[in-house]
Amino acid sequence: MREKLRSALSLYLYFFKIGWFTFGGGWSIVAQMQTDFVEREKRIDGQELLDIVSVGRSLPGTMIGNVAYLFGYHMCGVAGGVLAVLGIITPPLVILSIVTVFYRAFRDSALVARALVGVRAVVAPVILSAVWKLMKAGTALPKIAFAGLMVLGCAMSYIFKVSSVLVVLCGVAAGGVYWLLQRRKGESGK
């Protein structure tokens, strides 16, 4: 019990720490989880992180809240989930409270605006570095099928502006087909 509480608290602290750098709609959080949990601490593998992101992205609510909850729950149950969420929302809450009070000064400050142009310039590489490593997480699919599904997901979202929930559901449908194919293969092999 004591042990569990301790690891739940460490989840709060970890997500509190990365919460200050939640740029790009929360995707930079995924990049930080990739380097810290997958690469360095090996608490989960790249596939598990992708699963958490897929589920978190397709449920209602804020993505990073969902992703933090799913990871926290995976590590140590409901307490872990709740504390991870509270950890990740504390920094934005603090920052926005300050910004709200100094709203006009913040909105009109050229220095802040220039710093943020710089930050926005690295958001894409941050996410890119994560997706680059996640692509190498390994898959049971043939390479061509993996690439095809990836291009399909990207095109549906970017070109045809399909909502990400529907895109993930298409992935689920494709998974159902894959499962049927695998089962048939298994039966004919017997």
Partner: protein, 179 residues
């Protein structure tokens, strides 16, 4: 007190109907203007600020509107409303997901969902590149250079994300034009 409850209720609705990103702006706008909590101009200002500062758009709007209308308590209520889907729908999904993820069906389904999800992230990257590296139809070379430098530091030199973001902020102050 009623205002605090109203804030909670408004953001609960916004939370449940939003699946991330800019799709929630019309609803935020109508809720804020409808209750007389903000003007339309303030809503578009806060959307711009919420996009620049860390934290997801929805939570940032919740904090801004909450503090404006009912102080810190309002901000907490609005944030809690925004997070209600996470603590209900997502919490239920987590139980279900942890229980079944070792099953064959779930394993095969997720095998196909993963590349689709990677595709979704690529779409985000393309979108970010187009908006962040151009301004008024011309390429922003300072931004492109900072971006390339960032990619090099992240991928080749194993710099951490916070370090790269802080460096980019400093470089932005020196070299970028406000836009």
């Amino acid at each position: 007190m009623t205002t605090v409850l109203q804030l909670f209720w408004s953001f609960l609705q916004i939370g449940f109907t939003s699946f991330g990103g800019l799709s929630m702006i019309p609803l935020i706008n109508s809720e804020m203007v409808g209750h007389g909590w903000m003007t339309s101009t303030e809503v578009s200002d806060i959307v711009a600020i919420a996009e620049m500062t860390p934290g997801p758009l929805g939570l940032n709007c919740a904090t801004f509107a909450g503090i404006r209308v009912a102080g810190i308590l309002g901000a907490l209520a609005a944030n809690l409303g925004m997070l209600t889907p996470t603590f209900t729908v997502c919490a239920a999904a987590a139980v279900f997901f942890e229980r079944f993820k070792k099953s064959r069906v779930m394993g095969d389904i997720m095998t196909a969902v993963r590349p689709v999800c990677i595709g979704l992230i690529w779409a985000v990257i393309i979108d970010l590149c187009l908006t962040n590296y151009t301004a008024g139809g011309s390429v922003q070379w300072a931004g492109v250079l900072i971006g390339l430098g960032g990619a090099y530091l992240l991928l080749r030199r194993q710099w951490s994300v916070p370090r790269v973001i802080c460096l980019a902020a400093a470089l932005g102050m020196i070299f970028c034009k406000a836009g």
